[in-house]
Symmetry: C2
Subunit: 157 residues, 2 copies
């Protein structure tokens, strides 16, 4: 966990310094820039964010910054389709090399090839296992964000 914390911190520093992005924002941008077309908010949220309102907030920031666009879906009038703008793509492209560099320097460099491969295998399996875990509290009004979101627990007080 300490290694992860150090990595996350460094990654966030780089993203903030070179693109004024949080890691969550970078992930959202990466999803959109990597995918072909548009995505709904729900699709976009999956695995990145644990509440709907959290995504709305982040999407609001990204839209305000001109990195994404939101519009009604023609298929489903309830859904919002999110698209990366050229500016968004440009920012992603501008930030990505530094991100790769940090990741490499911090995580990949000290590992031998077979170790890195093994790490990937292990963590992929762990991820799949976690996604398949039944949520602890399957509270109502809290569905539609995938397994990760559904794992959200009861209110604090």
């Amino acid at each position: 966990m300490e290694a992860v914390s150090l990595l996350q911190h460094q990654v966030e520093q780089q993203l903030r310094a070179e693109g004024d992005l949080s890691y969550v924002q970078f992930q959202l941008l990466a999803r959109l820039a990597t995918s072909h077309g548009r995505m709904t908010m729900t699709q976009l949220a999956d695995g990145v964010v644990y509440s709907r309102s959290g995504l709305t907030y982040q999407a609001g920031l990204l839209e305000e910054a001109g990195l994404i666009t939101r519009g009604r879906s023609p298929d489903d009038d309830r859904a919002t389709l999110v698209t990366v703008t050229d500016k968004g793509r440009a920012l992603f492209d501008r930030v990505l090399p530094g991100h790769v560099q940090v990741t490499r320097r911090m995580l990949f460099d000290p590992l031998a090839d077979d170790e890195l491969e093994r790490l990937g295998d292990i963590m992929s399996r762990v991820r799949d296992h976690m996604r398949a875990q039944p949520p602890r509290s399957a509270a109502r009004g809290n569905r539609g964000l995938g397994p990760a979101a559904r794992a959200k627990a009861a209110p604090r007080e």
Copy 2:
């Protein structure tokens, strides 16, 4: 990173539900409960927190909750010695089993013994490597919290 995110989220849920603790607070408590005597704020911060004020804030919460005590160090009048109270130890003991259970269920269960061992080896080495990395911006007024803290970058604006 997704696996880590899912794990962290579940761990935080458990700690919040069973002990009303954040993960940072749990880590601080764990350090103190595990160590024999008292620790200075600086020692306590190492590897857990990235700013002095952040630790002061968290220590304030823990003290207010009666989980720790802060007092002047006899050796160094600048330093603050932090001690776990009985209540703090009790809370840690109460929360720990659930923490172990979550960790086991989410992370350990899907792995074979040798895989878990390998994961430990790999991540330990990664951690050591990261700790040894030279900070990107060795800004002044930002020392004394160990390598992790020193990695802190320039102000945002």
